[in-house]
Amino acid sequence: MSVSELIRWIVSLLLKPYVFAPIFFPGIATAFILILLLIWLERKIAAKVQLRYGPLYVSKRFGGILQLVADLLRYLFQEPIIPKNADKIVFILGPILLFGTAYIPTALIPVSGSFVPFRSEVSLLVVIALLSISPLFDLVIGWASNNKFSLIGGLREGYIIVSYEIPLFISTIAIAMLYGTLDLVEIAGQNKWGVLLNPIAALVFLIVTYMSTARFPFEIAEAESEIVMGPYTEYSGILYGLTMGASYVKMYVLSLLFTILFLGGWNPVFWPFTLHPILPGLIMLAKALVVMVIGIFLRAVYPRYRIDHALSIGWKLLLTLSFLAVCYSLLITYLQVVVWV
């Protein structure tokens, strides 16, 4: 086993789909770079709307793009304070698990026709199930830091999680009916624009992505002006950095899912290119970026909802809309089967 063979074996291992995808392309590396870009973009867009510059002198020529690198460095070298009466192990593990479990669903998201890490007939259901793991750690964080404001923040996070997950499930089922399959690769392969098929489900899914990642009108769990930083009040240093990044990772995953289900995956790419592993994935990433930019633009537009407004939207509005979406897709499938066949 000479050295060159060893290197060649490692490289081939790295290029295997089930290793490359979760670590590099739709997985941790791109998500990490994307977080730094996204937060910088959010501050710049909010600054543009508010007639000012936003972060600039960090790297003047590139318009302050290194601002997030500076913030990350500060978090790294900041003293992580662990309060005396907080539950130590849970206090430290909370943000790490929150950040970690937010990535898991990318393991099932296909990059192109042939290049998918794990393929299964019910990959859509698996992704949805994996999505609901990471919000639980908000509750854990809220409870572990033994501070009144984080207790209330964690409780609020609990209310909101329950109120947005049911419409999420129902709207995905509604759109899956129209595709006829639960396998993400086939859904993406059909190149059909889900938005046109069932616009109600698309609307519900979009609102849920902004609700689950606390984008602006629904930024209630860590509402600054009411309960300081919500569940993350006691966190400092890199632990806080992880919690802040976790919501952006969740938005990244949800917007990838949104592009596959509603924006037709790698739609404009025709047959011969779909086998190329990276190109369709990049197009999908571009569409996901558009969805994310809309999400972060809301910071400059909306004030914050109160907890009971958000819950009433979640339970009353979104729930009925998602049932409507199911009936709508039932109607279409019935028409397709009976009338057109």
């Binding site: 909010a46 709307v49 508010q50 007639l51 000012r52 009144k148 404001f149 209330i152 602006f216 009108p217 930024e219 209630i220 509402a223 600054e224 002006s225 009411e226 309960i227 300081v228 910071r299 400059a300 537009v301 909306y302 004030p303 914050r304 909802y305 109160r306 907890i307 009971d308 407004h309």
Partner: protein, 387 residues
């Protein structure tokens, strides 16, 4: 039953409350009892005033309500002029009202900005403070200072209006009116703002009167009381503007009342810029005491040096009361002099101190998320309250 109640301290560091602390008893999300704990910025203006000469008190009196400094200065000088028995010339009164109204506009923008950031809309905060800077530039052109003008002195004002002021002011006011439309679409008519403010912190008319509330909070509950209309001072009787009175009395009405008052103040400033008469800006008997070198300095630059008498100003023994409609409400001054060059007793009641009583009355029964909404809508300035 008691262990259901959670005791919360929304303290001086908490973003939901300025420089004060709320002792809140919460049952679930509903506030059972709220007690404000103020005094965090109590710097004893009344005790210091007894150790300062009359002219030194002007900057002292402005510091507590820094967002709205022209009105306490005007109120103190009106009380002092009653003691001294001196009358400012016509042009000086017009300049005083001009500065007071410009200060009212940028104080209201300060209030809207703070309400915006309390509700979470950082754009309303940034816009509020951006448009405030336009008015501050105008005040800087007129008085030379950003927000602490000390512009009004016994018998008149310190500077005349520069030549370029009128058309720059009209240009700025046109820009502000255009900007107010943007505020309406983005922040005031925003469905989320309406959801957060409508029906929150309702102050009924008889409660507003009973609790002695002042300013836009009072007029938003339907009480027709504005010092500029009820007892006009300076030249307010010659200006026609109408009092902004709304009926609902909730936080949304208070926000709208402030925006409408900005429009009224713009109308007043336009009239002043049209009707301001020519003439001296300091009372005749004080003007005679200025040395000739400073007189032609004044005629060339329009900047007035104090006459030497102000250092040893000694009003006759007696007492005087004055009230002025500030941005946040009614200032009330009560000056007692015993013939020496320092006042025997200076009583300053600022509008925010009259509004403190509202917190424990309004916060009961609302949710935690309503604390910033109500706090922001009352436009409460803690240094002004604690003096």
């Amino acid at each position: 039953m008691s262990e259901r109640i959670l005791e919360l301290y929304i303290g001086p560091q908490h973003p939901g409350s300025g420089h004060m602390r709320f002792h809140i008893k919460v049952d679930g999300d509903i506030i059972v009892e709220a007690q404000p704990n103020i005094g965090y910025v109590h710097r004893a203006v009344e005790k210091i005033a007894e150790t300062k000469k009359y002219i030194q008190i002007i900057p002292l009196v402005e510091r507590p309500s820094l967002a709205d400094t022209a009105n306490p200065n005007l109120c103190y000088i009106l009380a002092l002029e009653k003691l001294l028995g001196v009358e400012p010339p016509e042009r000086a009164s017009y300049l005083r009202v001009l500065l007071a109204e410009m200060n009212r506009i940028h104080s209201h923008f300060y209030g809207i900005g703070i309400l915006g950031i309390m509700l979470g809309s950082s754009t309303a905060f940034m816009w509020g403070f951006a448009d405030r800077e336009i008015l501050i530039d105008l005040c800087q052109l007129l008085t030379g200072a950003r927000i602490t003008y000390s512009y009004i002195i016994p018998g008149g004002v310190r500077r005349d209006m520069p030549k370029s002021f009128v058309e720059r002011a009209l240009k700025a006011l046109r820009y502000i009116e255009k900007r107010l439309k943007d505020y309406d679409n983005l922040f005031i008519e925003n469905p989320v703002t309406k959801a957060r403010l409508e029906g929150v912190g309702v102050l009924k008319k008889k409660d507003a009167i009973r609790l002695g509330v002042v300013g836009p909070n009072l007029r938003a509950s339907g009480v027709r009381y504005d010092v500029r209309k009820n007892t006009p001072y300076c030249v307010y009787d010659k200006l026609d503007f109408d009092m902004v009175v709304l009926k609902e009395g909730d936080s949304y009405a208070r926000l709208r009342a402030r925006v409408l008052e900005i429009k009224e103040s713009i109308k007043i400033i336009r009239q002043i810029l049209k009707e301001i008469p020519e003439g001296p800006i300091l009372a005749e008997n004080y003007y005679k005491m200025i040395p000739p070198k400073w007189k032609d300095y004044y005629s060339s630059t329009g900047i007035l040096k104090f006459p030497a008498i102000f250092a040893r100003l000694k009003p006759s023994p007696g007492e005087a009361v004055a009230r002025v409609e500030g941005g946040r409400g009614e200032f009330f001054f009560y000056v007692i002099s015993d013939g020496t060059d320092k006042p025997y007793r200076l009583r300053m009641v600022s509008p925010s101190y009259r509004n403190v009583i509202l917190f424990s009355h309004l916060l009961k029964g609302h949710r935690i998320a309503d604390i910033p909404a109500i706090y922001g809508s009352l436009d409460y300035f803690p240094p002004g309250a604690d003096r």
